[in-house]
Symmetry: C2
Subunit: 267 residues, 2 copies
């Protein structure tokens, strides 16, 4: 596959790029620690899922991995962001038959994630449902942007977003888990939401430890019965939820154990 | 409002632009005829609606209009595309408090729209519902891109798209109207779809001529009873539908009358 690489924060892209015009592309934001990308294989897996769904060709895997590793190498605690768009195209929604994807890589430092628990509020802004787009990290993220706009006026760290049909999906930029007795539950993401890399890492870890996790539909009413809640994100790791709306959630046990198990030091 | 203008097909934009990163912006594609933008006030109206919904500041109206007019001036039959993004921002979905929008203008020639009627097929690809995003022309258009990808393998000119809950919304890049006896119906777009400028022009024209138009939920079953169907788009005007899936639609009457009334010569 022929692609064009654009490296660094100062890179520029033609205004005819389909990522800009239509959100026609994918991205990954990866945590860097001691110069290496963390959980790269999970990012690659999600990227491939997105590529399949959108019919978007990906660059040669070896070259891509080398370039990402090079971008990561200079940061002790940082991030690498990868964006793959369907490149330039003629006007109109129809993709070109032989797209030349633009592959954008930039990297930077990051701060350690705050260790205190999150205050979470349920947002009015909802997430549209579409099984073809659910789970993947495509570039059409206006619903999350509107969620963050709503959150600005609220005294909270993160907003909980429901799907149009009322299912709990996750935070604006985090996945959510809830503990009910000995059961761990995380929302089914077949209709909306993003399959976060830290969510996948938690699911793998639980599988290895034979901790049962249900991926299922979850309502706000269900969450009223939760003993513990935590949220996940590739950059901030696993964060306990201190309160959801008016309700306090004192337990931190499973989140703490999973953080230990996954070697998450900085949040 | 401070903005940055980017003019012409060869303009480039920083890869950190929020339009590229998140689809955080709006666009308008406007028909040009004899050096002037057609139905500019309807484009401006939709842009304002989008600006209100997204909390996205627009450039000074007079300067914008002058620049668009200048871009249009050299084309006898052409288009002007305007894109307004929320500009550069820090990483993350939260918009900056004082964004400096990027305002991208480019223009080109266009071919006269083909005058023959459209063969339309119903697509499997559906449209997610979200009242906050419905109607406006934001940059998150992956559903239309996937619709066009599906259409590529089908012997048809346009694809009809339903919402997730099964309501007929429109084509991948056209609005749809159906005639039932003396009633004209077009889908309610409060949950999905785009309020097309030619759709608005048809609604205005019908209002002036006291032709009743219902904007309401429309199903595929309803369309089985239609006497006539046509589709609209700012660039191609009003196009009759020759067949929907297997069903032929012989009537062209109302579409022809509306084309005359609206002075649509080239399609």
């Amino acid at each position: 596959v022929r692609v064009r690489y654009l490296i660094g924060q100062d890179a520029t892209i033609e205004v005819g790029d389909r990522g800009l015009a239509y959100g026609d592309g994918l991205f990954e934001t990866m945590a860097v620690r001691h110069g290496r990308i963390e959980r790269f294989e999970l990012h690659r897996e999600r990227l491939r899922l997105g590529s399949d769904r959108l019919g978007l060709p990906l660059p040669d895997a070896d070259e891509l991995e080398q370039r990402l590793a090079a971008a990561a190498a200079e940061f002790d605690l940082g991030f690498v962001k990868l964006t793959v768009t369907r490149g330039q195209g003629p006007r109109g929604y129809a993709p070109p038959d032989d797209p030349v994807p633009n592959v954008i890589i930039n990297a930077g430092m990051r701060q350690p994630a705050p260790t205190r628990a999150l205050r979470v509020v349920t947002l009015e802004q909802r997430l549209g449902e579409n099984p073809k787009l659910a789970g993947i990290k495509h570039l059409c993220r206006l619903e999350q942007v509107l969620g963050q706009l709503e959150l600005k006026s609220l005294a909270a760290d993160e907003g909980l977003m429901l799907s149009m049909s009322g299912a709990v999906i996750g935070g604006t930029s985090r996945n959510v888990f809830a503990v009910f007795g000995s059961r761990l539950v995380t929302p089914d993401l077949s209709q909306a939401g993003i399959r976060g890399v830290m969510r996948e890492a938690v699911l793998h870890e639980c599988e290895q430890r034979r901790v049962a996790v249900d991926e299922r539909a979850l309502t706000l009413d269900d969450l009223q019965q939760a003993d513990e809640m935590f949220m996940t994100n590739a950059l901030v790791g696993i964060q306990s939820v201190e309160c959801l709306d008016e309700r306090a959630l004192p337990s931190r046990d499973l989140a703490a154990r999973l953080r230990d198990a996954l070697g998450l030091i900085d949040g």
